[in-house]
């Protein structure tokens, strides 16, 4: 369970997240709302990337900003956030995909095997040796997804995960997400894509201007 309690956040002076409380249990939740509402910011707060100016972030009951780094890391490693604009590291696509495993000390060989299997599933195995900085938009998006999936996180926070993907790959990603739900992973998705949300999510938070304005069932929000 990831829980935000009365969380405030601002990049400079103006707060952009204003007293948000929400939780992600064994479920898929959607964050929806107009551009600039604060969806991305909220996901990054949930992932422990941003530190709230006020309020608390709990991962599995622990306030992660009050734990020493050593203890926090085991919790934070259960959570993965995927950026809306993929961030790509130097080196090959494969090297990018295994990055999270390297952080966790998995051996290179094992990481490689696992990565290739996953990349096959996403249809990017042929790109393995390609320079990751030279991908098309959709290819980069898939790289970012693979990089997140490979560490088998308990909580996946996805920011517009289907943007730039072609239809075939959208379908495989959706199936992957459904599979993940079936094995009990928690998923949060920030998106403007009604279709996606209605297929995998059971709950939607509508964000407007930095606050949760309503909780509803997914299909309702786009009407």
């Amino acid at each position: 369970m990831i829980k935000l309690r009365e969380v405030y956040f601002s990049y400079n002076k103006e707060p952009v997240v204003k007293g948000v409380s929400l939780s992600l249990g064994n479920e898929c939740i959607a964050l929806a709302g107009p551009n600039g509402a604060g969806k991305t910011t909220i996901l990054k707060l949930m992932a422990g990337i941003y530190r709230p100016k006020k309020g608390e972030v709990f991962i599995e009951g622990k306030n992660i900003w009050k734990l020493p780094e050593k203890e926090a890391i085991t919790l934070r490693r259960k959570v993965v956030y995927v950026h809306e604009n993929p961030i790509v590291l130097r080196g090959s696509v494969l090297n990018n995909v295994i990055f999270g495993l390297e952080l966790r000390g998995v051996s290179k060989e094992e990481a490689r095997k696992k990565a290739l299997k996953l990349m096959r599933k996403l249809g990017i195995d042929e790109l393995a040796e390609k320079d990751a900085k030279n991908l098309s938009a959709g290819q980069a998006q898939l790289l970012a997804l693979a990089r997140a999936l490979i560490v088998e996180p308990s909580y996946m926070l996805l920011d517009e995960p289907l943007a730039n993907l072609d239809w075939k790959r959208r379908k495989s990603v959706l199936e992957l997400l459904k599979e993940l739900r079936e094995t009990g992973r928690s998923i949060a998705i920030a998106t403007h894509d009604a279709f996606l949300v209605s297929l995998v999510c059971s709950k939607a938070y509508i964000i407007e201007n930095g606050s949760v304005v309503s909780e509803t069932l997914p299909p309702a929000i786009f009407q």
Partner: protein
Amino acid sequence: MLGEVLEIALRSIIVSGLAAVLATSWGIPLSLKLVTDDFRGKKFILDVFRALVGIPTVVVGLILYFLFSRSGPFGGLRLLYTPLAIALGQAVLITPLLVSFAYQALEREKGEVWELAMSLGALKNQASSTLIKETIPKLLNASLIAFNRAIGELGVALMLGGNIKGFTRVMTTAIALEVSKGEFGLALSLGGFLLLITYSITAVSRMVGGKS
């Protein structure tokens, strides 16, 4: 004569190479700290380093001379007038330049790399080393330029090395000596040779280290 020049050139490379290694060994972690940590006085430190790019080499030489001199606090180490003293002095001299370059490179990449690392569960020092990895060609470039600066400086080599023939004479002190002798032609040839050395080292290490 030629043998002596080669010996001096080799000494220059080793001494300034050591200086570059030393400066890198503390300059990169320092730059990293400046980039990744937010603390009061950070801007101040950064500006001091930028100002120190312009510290006259004789001043660095002089300060370390006082420290290393027999009557100074570290006189007991007997460092003065040794190649090691030059290397230490040059390492100090080039640190600000190295930090200025490295900071610019690291700072440009930091935001994204750091966020990515955090989003995938990196420890703080793993995020740091990812940042370093991402910036390696530029950091290498910074070290290289710092090395070039070191091998071309005179004041430190003169004050701390003393231009002792066969022991602490390096390319620049040899050039300065020829200038003071009025042997301008010879001084220029030595200067050309020194440039050839720095160019070769630059070109080779960039081939090995990749583009930046």
